[in-house]
């Protein structure tokens, strides 16, 4: 399971972090993994964003209590009131096997995730 914390829906660039993961979804699945995006945006905001970007994976709303999950993972930005840009790869037992906190203005891409998945999972035969 991949947890992708990010600051906010509606990033103003093409191929923002969630749009990129949307394109790489089949690669994640090939490694037997699923991804969820997490931000403090509300569920209705997520729904609109998800529909607009044709996202094929769930966005979780860390909305009430605000940022609680992000805090538990240690990736809440108290000043901004948003999640940091942080990635966690969990194995089947729920153990965090890899994590990365990106500079807030740098989309971390998918390479680190794929490398982590390769190190812990056997690819699912096609």
């Amino acid at each position: 399971m991949i947890l992708a914390f990010y600051p906010a829906d509606w990033s103003p660039v093409c191929g923002d972090q969630m749009a990129l993961y949307n394109e790489v979804l089949s690669e994640f699945q090939r490694h037997g993994s699923e991804i969820v995006g997490i931000s403090v945006d509300g569920a209705w905001c997520h729904r609109a964003f998800s529909e607009d970007r044709n996202l094929h994976f769930p966005l979780l709303s860390d909305f009430e209590p605000k940022g609680e999950v992000s805090r538990q993972y240690g990736v809440y930005d108290y000043a901004a009131g948003e999640s940091k840009r942080a990635l966690f790869v969990l194995d089947g037992g729920g153990v965090i096997r890899w994590s990365y906190v990106s500079p807030i203005d740098v989309n971390p891409g998918a390479d680190g995730i794929l490398t982590a998945l390769e190190s812990i999972a056997v690819p699912v035969p096609q």
């Binding site: 191929g15 990129l20 740098v106 891409g109």
Partner: protein, 191 residues
Amino acid sequence: MSSRVDAPRLAVDVGPDDHVRGPAVAAVTLVEYGDYECPYCGAAYPIVKDIERILGDDLRSVFRNFPLTEVHPRAFQAAEAAESAAAQGRFWEMHERLFENQKDLDEKSLLSYARTLALDVERVQADLDDHTHEARITADFLGGVRSGVNGTPTFFINGVRHDGSYDLDTLLGALRGAAALPVTPSRAESA
């Protein structure tokens, strides 16, 4: 930002299958991962052209496909048209048509560009119908993902991801820095 020592590096070296402009021995290589339907790539297109003009033979310029198909439904087929043109030796001409006509990337338009370029249009049509170049485009995309491409456009300068802005002055400055070329104001050059 572009000087970050941990900036990702190209996972796939520039090779004979790439679309390349400029000499192999150029002082600096610019690799762009782009999407023909992406407005930011469209905005970067004239900047890259200016840079190619300004740096001349000091620059080797490479374009690789990174179509974001869920947000840009016509990007993949546009890339297929460019690859089809490449199979007839006319990649860059089609590449320019596509970026100069980003709003018209439907199949009829793609074929009209092929016609304008005097390509074998039936062959282009067959390539689009049969998805002849799908594997190559997907390979470009996955190579980009493994290189740390995180959106479009993403640039690599001498193999290192350029995380700064891609306005003319910034990109040109970064290229000159990487090539150890003398840095002069670009305002006059770009006029």
